[in-house]
């Protein structure tokens, strides 16, 4: 009954007044930025990291987690009501959600999305509680070889699941790893790529880079595209779904939750991929696939459940192994390090109140989201009418102050300026910044483990396939890579011939 004790501990943290307060702040902020297109959880969480200096570790993580899954939730509101994806993970929700709203069933669509999210969040949380501890036990037996292999798997998964070209994503990961290596070499304290600049010997802090790539660069891109403003709001019908609606959403919700939970655990996976996959599956199993895109409840319930389930389960590798599976998780790890906690399998034993409190708060947060959001839909719709021209100067200013406050240093501001330009260039040549950021975060750790593993093995790289666990992890990575690359080669050849 250790599990029950732990769950009890978790809820006592999550339901304490601080726990509830920061959870509430998190989900409200999360919903707000989720509703607003053009600002996402990565930029918001990096802007808010400095705030966490003043909070305890548990409170900070509860709040940041709330922002993350709150954003998935808020994104669907915008998608349904104005046909703009508030978040990348709600792109597919636009397809059927907006059609439903046009048919005068906007309220139903919102309710379906909310109920699906709540259900998926509950299941996702339960999964972390059930499987987290055993995974952490496996993790504590990991040696440097296994860690290297696991990180390689994480990076490959990030590459495979990136939305654009696989091979460019691979390049971005390598570039990220290289930039991550800038700074003092841990083994013999030699300066690497620092040109004698003092600030660089600590390595490049990834928070200003994340703000530059996701915050500043996004502003530039939006301005260049002259971001279309949301216009005209559709009337919303009653939020109560009918019995028929509930019956139709049941199976899609279950399938979406299952698929999302699975894809969320994969390092590199996450809500975006999960929502796309769930929509595709739903279309495949439907008896009327041609009706998708005309306002099918199934097309809202499945992806909305999937993205929320994935948002929850993507905490598993971060909490149990200390390995970030996406950019948001990398920022969470940053928040833990700021609070003086070394992420890894030990967190669960040394800081049980943080681990269980965070998980319990995710369930509380999902409930809060439904309770506070259904009545607040009207306010979120109003928020959408705040023009971008008032919003982007605020984004820029908060990014700047946030970057400075990490170490009260102008150097971090310089990094932000540079990363903004770099992010723009990446966007122009069609390279995704997320794999880059992941490589940058994992770079120093991965090099350290790799060198240690090679030293132990006497310089023989075969050790990575001789140790069973490491071989299995690398095997999965190779399979993943082959699955995407092989058809891609076929397609590339086809398109060449067509020209």
């Amino acid at each position: 009954m250790e599990l029950l004790d732990n769950v009890w501990l978790g809820f006592s943290v999550a339901l304490s007044w601080q726990g509830l307060l920061y959870c509430l702040i998190g989900v409200v902020v999360g919903t707000m930025i989720g509703v607003l297109p053009g600002i996402g959880p990565v930029a918001t969480i990096s802007m808010l990291l400095p705030v966490t200096y003043h909070l305890g570790a548990t409170e900070s993580l509860i709040m940041l987690a709330g922002i993350y899954y709150g954003a998935q939730y808020g994104g669907s509101t915008t998608a349904i009501l104005v046909n703009l994806p508030g978040e990348a993970s709600s792109v597919v929700t636009c397809l059927d959600g907006y059609r439903m709203a046009q048919k005068g069933k906007g309220g139903t669509a919102l309710a379906v999305a909310a109920l699906g999210s709540l259900f998926a969040g509950t299941v996702g949380t339960a999964l972390i509680m059930l499987f987290g501890p055993s995974l952490a036990k496996i993790g504590s037996n990991f040696g440097p070889t296994e860690y290297t292999a696991l990180m390689a798997l994480g990076l490959i998964a990030a590459v495979v699941l990136a939305s654009g070209s696989v091979i460019k994503a691979l390049g971005m990961v390598i570039l990220g790893l290289l930039i991550g290596l800038i700074g003092l070499d841990i083994n013999d304290a030699s300066q690497r790529f620092t040109w004698g600049i003092l600030e660089l010997s600590d390595g490049i802090d990834f928070v200003p880079i994340a703000m530059g790539l996701f915050g500043v660069a996004e502003v530039i891109v939006q301005l260049e595209r002259r971001a279309k403003q949301a216009t005209g709001n559709l009337p919303i019908n009653s939020l109560m779904p009918t019995r028929e609606d509930l019956k139709r959403m049941l199976w899609p919700m279950l399938r979406g939750t299952g698929l999302g939970s699975l894809l969320g655990v994969l390092p590199g996976g996450g809500p975006v991929l999960a929502s796309f996959a769930a929509y595709t599956v739903e279309k495949k199993v439907s008896s009327t696939p041609e009706q998708f895109g005309t306002g099918m409840i199934e097309g809202v319930a499945a992806p909305e459940s999937a993205n929320n389930a994935a948002a929850q389960t993507s905490f598993i590798p971060m909490l149990t192994l200390g390995i970030p599976s996406n950019a948001v998780m990398a920022l969470m790890i940053g928040a833990m390090i700021i609070a003086g906690i070394q992420p890894g399998p030990n967190v669960m034993t040394t800081k049980p109140e943080l681990f269980w409190g965070l998980i319990a708060s995710m369930w509380v947060g999902n409930l809060l989201l439904v309770i506070i959001n259904l009545p607040l839909v009207g306010i979120w719709v109003k928020l959408l009418t705040v023009p971008y021209r008032f919003l982007y100067p605020a984004i820029l200013l908060f990014c700047c102050i946030g970057a400075y406050s990490i170490q009260n240093s102008t150097f971090h501001l310089m990094l932000l300026v540079g990363a903004g330009v770099l992010g723009y260039v990446f966007y122009k040549v069609g390279c995704e910044p997320a794999p880059f950021l992941l490589g940058m975060v994992l770079g120093p750790q991965m090099e350290e483990y790799f060198r240690r593993a090679m030293r132990v093995a006497g310089g023989d790289p075969a050790v990575f396939i001789e140790r069973p666990l490491s071989a299995a992890l690398l095997g999965v990575a190779v399979v993943l890579l082959l699955i995407v690359i092989v058809p891609a080669i076929g397609r590339a050849r086809q398109s060449t011939f067509q020209e």
């Binding site: 400095p50 705030v51 003043h54 070209s165 091979i167 460019k168 390049g171 390598i174 570039l175 790893l177 290289l178 290596l181 070499d185 013999d188 030699s190 690497r192 790529f193 500043v216 502003v219 530039i220 891109v221 301005l223 260049e224 021209r389 008032f390 982007y392 100067p393 605020a394 820029l396 200013l397 908060f398 990014c399 700047c400 102050i401 400075y404 406050s405 009260n408 102008t410 501001l413 932000l416 300026v417 903004g420 330009v421 122009k428 040549v429 069609g430 390279c431 090099e447 790799f450 060198r451 090679m454 030293r455 006497g458 310089g459 023989d460 790289p461 590339a492 398109s495 060449t496 020209e499």
Partner: protein, 149 residues
């Protein structure tokens, strides 16, 4: 010539350039042996992989479907960068108020149809918010106006 202005070709070039820069800058780092790697070993491996990958991407782009790079206007890039750069320059030197005013002015200017009154209002509101949250609320130690507050 148009084949050279594709996203993929330029992405490949970008990777090659970064790889070459790291290779060159890291050329004096000790390599060591696989058993006991020096500080230069992993960077060398990664740079070479990046160059190879970049070369492959660029070459492949010459024979595949073209996706031309799109350019609308350089104005947002230049002025938003100027905004953040000005803030970097002015924040510690002069304080939050001048830095934020400069940032918002440059940022507003990035839109061809910016309006004076609107920009002024944005400045006032944002300054009030940032001072309230970061200075008063969180007690951060930056100057609001150097020498005065």
């Amino acid at each position: 010539m148009i084949r050279l202005l594709t996203k993929d070709f330029l992405a490949g070039l970008l990777f090659i350039a970064f790889g070459a820069a790291f290779l060159w800058l890291g050329s004096d780092l000790r390599l060591g042996t696989p058993r006991s790697m020096g500080p230069g070993f992993v960077p060398r491996m990664l740079s070479m992989a990046l160059i190879a990958l970049g070369g492959f991407i660029s070459l492949r782009s010459l024979f595949a479907r073209i996706e031309l790079i799109e350019f609308a206007s350089l104005r947002p890039l230049l002025l938003v960068t100027a905004a953040t750069a000005f803030f970097t320059f002015a924040f510690e030197r002069f304080g939050l108020i001048p830095a934020a005013i400069g940032l918002i002015a440059f940022a507003a200017w990035a839109r061809p149809d910016w309006r004076r009154l609107e920009t002024l209002a944005t400045m006032l509101v944002l300054l009030a918010i940032t001072i309230a949250i970061f200075k008063e609320g969180l007690g951060m130690t930056f100057p609001v106006l150097r020498g005065v507050w």
